[in-house]
Symmetry: C2
Subunit: 204 residues, 2 copies
């Protein structure tokens, strides 16, 4: 029987570049993580594909699934629902696969209450001014919305204490390297391996 997989949760303030880092990470050949696609009621941005970037659903469908307790976590964020369907995650973990979630900060806190053994990674901007640049250059936001986002982002950064690791997103490739190292190190945690080696000692 394979060991149970790791649940890796990447989160961080809006605008820090979670999606960019996640895509870069999954483009690497030596990464064997299973991406858990989130569900959302927001409209697709240009280039986003249903079933690849998100499952795009109506509010009615989403609320029905909440009723049926089919989410590990869900949140309403800037007027839209976001959530992680539970079935795929549970199945992968049981098969020994590492599951990767990229979610908003509110959602990560919910996941932690259900999966305290998960690995929680907080993606940080190099500075708050750089975060403002990134939010601004997305080019789709008004000034009021930018200021609102910055306020929310600061509140989100205050929630860093719930996380195991902080990864600076100064360069996407460096951030990916750090995340890969964290996953590899977590597989070497003594608390995860103790039982295996205890059996080895008893067997021989």
């Amino acid at each position: 029987m394979r060991d149970r997989g790791l649940l890796i949760v990447l989160s961080g303030p809006s605008g820090v570049g979670k999606g960019t880092v996640r895509k870069a990470l999954f483009s690497k050949e030596d990464v064997s993580l299973h991406y858990s696609i989130s569900m959302t009621t927001r409209n697709p941005r240009e280039g986003e594909v249903d079933g690849t970037d998100y499952f795009f659903k109506s509010r009615e469908v989403f609320e029905q699934l909440i009723e049926e307790d089919k989410f590990i976590e869900w949140a309403e964020y800037v007027g839209n629902y976001y959530g992680t369907p539970v079935d795929y995650v549970e199945q992968c973990l049981a098969e020994g696969k590492d599951v990767f979630l990229e979610i908003e900060v509110q959602g990560a806190i919910q996941v932690k209450s259900k999966f305290p053994e998960g690995v929680f990674i907080f993606l940080m901007p190099p500075s708050l001014s750089e975060l403002k640049n990134r939010i601004t250059t997305r080019g789709t936001e008004t000034e009021d919305l930018i200021n609102n986002r910055m306020t929310v982002a600061k509140e989100e950064i205050e929630m860093m204490d719930a996380y195991d690791y902080v990864v600076e997103n100064d360069q996407v490739d460096l951030a990916c390297d750090r995340i890969k190292a964290i996953v590899q190190a977590e597989h070497c945690k003594r608390t995860r391996l103790r039982e295996k080696y205890k059996q080895m000692l008893e067997a021989e």
Copy 2:
């Protein structure tokens, strides 16, 4: 001011290949660890160089240094003293350098009581029979000594619970990769970075 460096402690049962892994690790260009050379009263093995592999000292000198409390840890093992001089380690950590110790299991437990913030890595053989092979093929031991070493090794493996990570030494290069990942991940630990980011939030 630079952050304080990490103290990385590699240990594991006698014969598992700690010295081989350490040498391979330090031969890599992308590794910036500072190796803390141990002091010992045992005789040099073929090819071992004083001041590179160990500081080789007499029992009289070693016991004098114990009296003066000049060791982070020391132990008597199979009739010889082994110890880590304290001054070099403290200086490197204060300068923000990562210090790497490769020591026996007894010594690592002492280090943990003095440096609980250290990163403790236990090097494991793939199996006990493989460990016996490695002890035997060193070629310098009698059968009694081999059996004695195996008994000690099993007792050492029982002490794994004091460690943060377990790294399997199935292949030296893979073991090195795991250790490198652990060091990189530890630098991303939220508990080590919280203060830095708190200051960032307050400054802006």
